[in-house]
């Protein structure tokens, strides 16, 4: 056992070093496979240690326990700092291997450069793993008989999938980054370049979208306080690359189709990955306080900072020198799709900037000796509202506008019509919902419908001009067009959900004896008392809450308060009745002196829409990926193509 471990430990830096030499063209590809295999072995070994309760490995001893169910033993592999870094490195190696596998159609020079850049990143990460956070550190000779158990918060099915998803996203941007650097090095940034990096960016973005949505969903039902987004530094760290990545996807579309905004696109590619790294730094160095923070470790922080300096500083220097030479390949007018997409980009980057400044401002404040400052939800909500509204206006119009130039008078009529229809529908919806009038909600809903309406309208127009029956026409539209439409729908749905739930939710903390009931909206919550139950590694008190609507039974909710043996910690498990238009949420608080219980009851309208929309966005991304352009590699060889403007961005 120890021997295998030692062998793998020796193998990791070797492969890492080999990857650094990946510029020797031919070496790059097999090295990528090799690195992936070894990291995979390391990962499997660690998982094996977990499953077999090998507490001589300190990481296992700290994060597992004999009583832990098997699926959580596996997810415990990435439940702590060292293991999550190993997962990170593995995912990076996975992406590298994937690039190696599917890059045969690329010019040798390009693929070697891309793999080389990824190799350099891997060297950094693997040495970080090895020198500051080795997950295989042993506890010999005095190892504990039983482990410290996994944090109960992490013992949840959502968490088995969430970190890998998120990492796929984060690290996926390294591919776009590597392509950008390769482009800068080679001085060749044309449509073909954009076409190569586009699918990679889209995949990464999809994973990140799903990852963030899962994280938010988990926070919602597991933390027991019913929030789904806290603007915590850790969440911001995942939101920033997402925003930058969204901007990058759109900008890549312009660069691919029209050969313009090259420097900007490259900058975004660098930005997206840099922000992923920055997130890692912020979270692991302890410079910020977060609910989710690791024990602060300045050594690790310093290491990542140096790594960050090399990667980001280096690439931005390269950018400063090389990007000036890029020339646009085509002309466009002020009112054209190019410019609208640029506006979209500026708005998204502005949003990224808000998150970045908001996250860093407390540090800046301290550095300038102005005292301590907190920046939280009220700030971000205020700052984000105008950004989102502006973004939505352009999301609606963008797809309607032609490349190169658009005469505004041709659009005016349909814009006015769309506006009137959206306003009518939004007003009707709000009126039907019957929870009071709110102008901001109205405006947001209007824009959601505006986006959906424009998506449909524009597709219909294109189908009609195709002059082949409806379904044939639908088929003629490219998959990437449908991907865009779907993703924009998803965005509209998410925003509608966010707006409704944050403006119309009802939260009550009430004191209840068995037999008490409370009315929230049309629902009656009857508290029937508590039961004592026992789980695998915990005991729990389980509340019994019956929900009825006008006498009709709706749900029977059983929120729990769990007491985990090993960590001696108490966890609240909320009970949720999820519905299409609303969530009912009950959490059990403390028993009070007079034998009653504190109970938290939420009514959250359209909660599911928030995550549903995110899933739809990701789906849109995947649909776009199946576009013929990416399946047929033939066109890539042409190199200098600029696809006609039939397909959407």
């Amino acid at each position: 056992m120890a021997l295998v471990l030692a062998a793998i430990q020796a193998a990791i830096p070797l492969t890492g070093a080999a990857r650094g030499n990946g510029r020797w063209m031919a070496v790059a590809r097999p090295a990528a496979y090799g690195q992936f295999s070894f990291l995979f072995m390391a990962f499997v070994t660690l998982a094996y240690c977990f499953v077999n309760n090998d507490f001589t490995v300190s990481y296992v001893a700290n994060h597992s326990n004999t009583l832990l169910p098997v699926q959580y033993k596996i997810s415990a592999v990435w439940g702590g700092h060292e293991g999550s870094l190993l997962l990170w490195a593995l995912v990076l190696a996975g992406w590298t291997a994937a690039v190696a596998l599917w890059s045969h159609h690329l010019p040798r020079l390009v693929s070697a450069r891309v793999l080389g850049v990824m190799g350099l990143i891997a060297v950094g990460f693997n040495s970080f793993l090895l020198f500051t956070s080795n997950p295989f550190d042993r506890l010999l000779p005095d190892f504990p008989a039983d482990g410290g158990d996994l944090n109960p918060l992490l013992q949840d099915p959502g968490l088995i999938v969430h970190p890998p998803m998120l990492y796929m996203g984060y690290v996926g941007f390294s591919v776009a980054f590597a392509f950008a650097i390769a482009g800068l090095l080679g001085g060749r940034l044309d449509s073909a370049w954009a076409r190569w990096s586009r699918p990679w960016t889209t995949v990464a973005w999809c994973f990140l979208t799903v990852g963030i949505a899962l994280g938010s969903w988990w926070a919602y039902y597991e933390l027991g306080w019913g929030g789904w987004w806290f603007w915590d530094p850790v969440e911001n760290a995942s939101l920033m690359p997402w925003l930058a990545g969204t901007a990058l996807m759109h900008s890549l579309a312009v660069t691919e189709k029209r050969g313009v905004f090259k420097a900007w696109t490259v900058l975004l590619a660098i930005l997206a990955f840099s922000l992923s790294l920055l997130g890692t730094f912020l979270v692991r160095s302890g410079v910020l306080t977060s609910v989710h923070a690791f024990a602060s470790d300045p050594t690790r922080g310093l290491f990542i900072l140096i790594f960050l300096l090399l990667v980001v500083g280096g690439s931005l220097t390269l950018f400063a020198f090389r990007a000036q030479t890029f020339r646009s390949e085509s002309q466009y007018q002020l009112f054209s799709r190019e410019v609208l997409l640029l506006v979209n980009n500026i708005v998204l980057v502005c949003a990224t900037g808000v998150v970045l400044v908001g996250t860093l401002y407390p540090i800046i404040f301290v550095a300038l000796d102005w005292g301590q400052l907190s920046v939280g939800e009220p700030f971000f909500n205020t700052a984000f509202t105008p950004i989102v509204l502006v973004l939505m206006v352009f999301t609606g119009i963008g797809p309607l506008v032609n490349w190169k130039r658009q005469r505004f008078d041709l659009l005016r009529k349909s814009l006015v019509q769309a506006f009137a229809i959206s306003a009518g529908l939004a007003a009707t919806a709000l009126w039907t919902f019957n929870e009071g009038w709110n102008w901001l909600v109205f405006a947001t809903l209007l824009l959601c419908i505006w986006i959906v309406f424009h998506g449909l309208f524009e597709s219909w127009k294109k189908i009609r001009t195709a002059k082949a029956g409806f379904f044939a026409g639908m088929k003629r539209l490219s998959r990437s067009h449908w991907g865009m439409v779907i993703a924009h729908f998803g965005l509209a749905i998410t925003i509608a959900g966010v707006t409704m739930t944050s403006n119309y939710d009802v939260e009550r903390d009430v004191r209840m004896h068995a037999g008490d009931s409370v009315n929230i909206g049309p629902y009656l919550f009857l508290f029937e008392g508590v039961l004592d139950v026992r789980g695998a590694n915990y005991t729990a008190t389980r509340g019994q809450v019956r929900v009825t609507e006008e006498g009709e039974p709706i749900a029977f909710l059983e929120p729990e308060k769990r007491h985990y043996f090993v960590r001696q910690s108490v966890m609240t498990e909320a009970a949720i009745d999820a519905g299409f238009t609303r969530d009912l949420y009950v959490a059990l608080g403390e028993p009070l002196e007079d034998g009653s219980w504190a109970v938290r009851i939420y009514y959250k309208p359209f909660m599911r829409w928030v995550w549903g929309g995110a899933i739809i966005m990701a789906l849109g991304g995947f649909v776009a990926l199946t576009d013929r352009r990416y399946r047929v590699k033939l066109t890539a060889k042409l190199g200098l193509d600029s696809n006609s403007a039939v397909t959407g961005g």
């Binding site: 970190p163 920046v375 959490a587 403390e590 938290r600």
Partner: protein, 156 residues
């Protein structure tokens, strides 16, 4: 990612999850006001948590004080000021708008606006004296060729 990080808590903090206290109010407005203020005040002792979500003893004390102040008819702005007097700006998640926070509140917006204005100005200048469009023709040729290629693909 956040999830992964939580593990470290064991070493760091005194966090307990989700405290639920039932405060009773005469009116629904006061209850809503209370809900709002306790989500905007930060627990000074905890990691990044508001006093509503934290059940550290101190968070409870601050909640109790906020409760008393609301019963005494204070507005949320007044309560925030009251707490800032005691704990500094750290206590509120809504940073005050002062000279030192202009960059925070307006920085990104001003930059974005600036970028947009510069772009539009440059663009308009370019349009007023357009470069010779020699390449335009070539581009058309290329896109025509591509169009043919695409049609071929369609037929397949």
């Amino acid at each position: 990612m956040k999830i992964v990080m939580i593990v470290g808590l064991l070493l760091v903090s005194s966090i307990n999850w989700a405290s639920i206290d039932a405060y009773e109010f005469q009116s629904l407005e006061k209850e809503q006001q209370f809900r709002q203020i306790i989500t905007e005040l930060r627990c000074p002792k905890c990691q990044n948590q508001n006093i509503s979500d934290s059940n550290a003893g101190l968070a409870k004390d601050i909640k109790d004080r906020a409760y008393e102040l609301i019963l005494a008819g204070k507005s949320n702005a007044e309560i925030t000021d009251y707490m800032v007097d005691r704990y500094g700006n750290f206590i509120t998640y809504r940073p005050p708008l002062t000279a030192s926070t202009y960059v925070l509140w307006f920085g990104p917006f001003v930059l974005a606006l600036l970028a947009l204005i510069i772009f539009v100005v440059v663009k308009i200048r370019q349009q007023n004296n357009p470069p010779a469009e020699l390449k335009q023709e070539q581009h058309q040729q290329v896109s025509q060729l591509l169009k043919k290629l695409e049609d071929l693909e369609h037929k397949r």
